[in-house]
Symmetry: C3
Subunit: 271 residues, 3 copies
Amino acid sequence: MLITLLTDFGTADYFVAAMKGVMLSRTPGAAFVDISHHVPPQDVQAAAFALLAVYDVFPAGTVHLAVVDPGVGSERRPVAVVTDRYRFVGPDNGLFSYVLDREPGARLFHLRDERFFRHPVSTTFHGRDVFAPAAAALAAGVEPGQLGPELTDPVRLPPLRPQRAHDGRLRASIVHIDHFGNCVTNVTRADLPPDPDGPGLCLEVAGREIRTLRRFYAEGEPEPGALFAIWASAGFLEIAANRDSAARLLGVRRGEEVWVSLPGVEYEIRL
Amino acid sequence: MLITLLTDFGTADYFVAAMKGVMLSRTPGAAFVDISHHVPPQDVQAAAFALLAVYDVFPAGTVHLAVVDPGVGSERRPVAVVTDRYRFVGPDNGLFSYVLDREPGARLFHLRDERFFRHPVSTTFHGRDVFAPAAAALAAGVEPGQLGPELTDPVRLPPLRPQRAHDGRLRASIVHIDHFGNCVTNVTRADLPPDPDGPGLCLEVAGREIRTLRRFYAEGEPEPGALFAIWASAGFLEIAANRDSAARLLGVRRGEEVWVSLPGVEYEIRL
Amino acid sequence: MLITLLTDFGTADYFVAAMKGVMLSRTPGAAFVDISHHVPPQDVQAAAFALLAVYDVFPAGTVHLAVVDPGVGSERRPVAVVTDRYRFVGPDNGLFSYVLDREPGARLFHLRDERFFRHPVSTTFHGRDVFAPAAAALAAGVEPGQLGPELTDPVRLPPLRPQRAHDGRLRASIVHIDHFGNCVTNVTRADLPPDPDGPGLCLEVAGREIRTLRRFYAEGEPEPGALFAIWASAGFLEIAANRDSAARLLGVRRGEEVWVSLPGVEYEIRL
């Protein structure tokens, strides 16, 4: 009965504890793992990325409860997403987009049966009154179909994929900046030719060219502030700096454009 | 054997882990939920409010361990508060005031029996040496009366209630500002006439008048920065802003005065 | 099956959750206590101190997983440290120095058997792929010797001890500044004469002399901003201020020199 939590609630307030209290009241013995409560407020895309990066290291049967919910109380639907191994609970606002992209067989359910809600249902905290009870029910073995009817039209974010430009380059972007200032792009090995680790790979970002691809952070000369690319742990190409923050050195934020030149592919020089 | 923790220790140091280690050494299998460790340093009132907002969503039998303790080592008494459903452990400095206001039948015990302490007892960290062991003992089923004699004179904070002014208005205040910048007041539905959600409700705060009462955050036109009142999840009237921080927009801090005009009640105009 | 975690990963990213997910996949029922994830990035010494301060309050059998690992992917060795009561897992970069100083009988093992790794092993996140699996295995009862061969040459930090100067004073330093701004030095009672709490103890730091030794924080007159010394909860002499941040008042950072004059010992006046 493992339940993970991902929210934008922060950890200063009682909000996360309220959800856990409700779940423990309904499913005694539930165990929790916090993924993060520091998603930028109301940033659905950031939450979708965090979920993608980590959901599949958990044991089969884990329930992932994700609440980044600017539309709380409005008509946006509360949903459960069900895959072979996992169940996800949260608002239908795109939060599960990237998981759905990876899990084509996933099924979606509308959490509509009020018997599973905590009453009275507030209009401001569905995390406590709607989502936590649903997660607790699923963790306890309730079939998703009991919580409400199946849906087929989830809200989707634009896919997390770089685009191929006319000159053959990839137009990618920084989709996450981590605690160390590493800049994670949306480029995976599948977006590049079979041997993407050979010479020739070039990233252009914020007026800088990055041609060094490292295998690990501490590789090579300890040149302070040297920027390099690296295949990071969630499978995405990352821009990092030698014991420094690449984001600070580059002066970039999430969303910054990154142009990736493919080795062995003709392309024009970008001025 | 569920124990919640509420402190001003922050999460960078080892303090919270030390309390958990002590509790697990004495009561193997204890499970923890962190309410918050980001209470402003030594702010007993903030901790009292957080506890009030969340204590009763937990299952019966939960032990709430709360340590905001500027007087550690001094004569202030370590206490346990016992209600029908819960037990609370912490310093007798007002931390349990709001819970005591809601739980008139609560009993209080002085944690004086040193057999339950961790020895040697430090003079600087009773969280680890006095309170955590007591919480672990209570979670393991020890009767509160075994930990020390009953008390009847707990330290109390001023009640968390607005005052009625001569002109009929309520003189309330902001008692908490949350992670999103929402400003929680000390006004509950019980403080207002039977239909407080009708037209006429007016909040005056920091030179602004707020006459909009929303049912949920995303209700109505997405006018950026619009301020509104809303009944928030812990039962208090809150001042919020449309996808923005009301606290920042108003330039207010906790303690700021809020005047509430009651619909259907005569009152003078405040200049 | 208790596992503590100490890292410099922060809590905004999914990194900590990834390690927990891996451990739960391998050792269902593992329970976690977070010591801290806010070690300053790549600050091995800070992590070593935090571990020292708290490791021995946990029940026997606890596995302490510590990952502050600037050399991830390089030749630095992944290790397990084994004492009578505890097992520690992390990189061999000095992180376990202070524990080894206190535990002369500890044994060290090189985590080399790839059967215990998570595959494919990334080059950037051994916390997830090497250390977490090893911690899970040890928590499940695997013998340390099965994970790899014994080692006898761990990387060591300089010992955490003050030095005796020619004039008899101790040349100490601030080794940690806590959440409240208290400045923890590396001075223990063992470094001082038998009655170190008598009159005469004098600390010189940042141009200030501190001659007051308090038993507890709230002792004596509530003189705002008064600095004093106090024996803190982890056994080290600490510089604190009355309901204020000593670090801020002194304008010091970790590493700042502190001269301690021993009562009853002749020493020259330092100009």
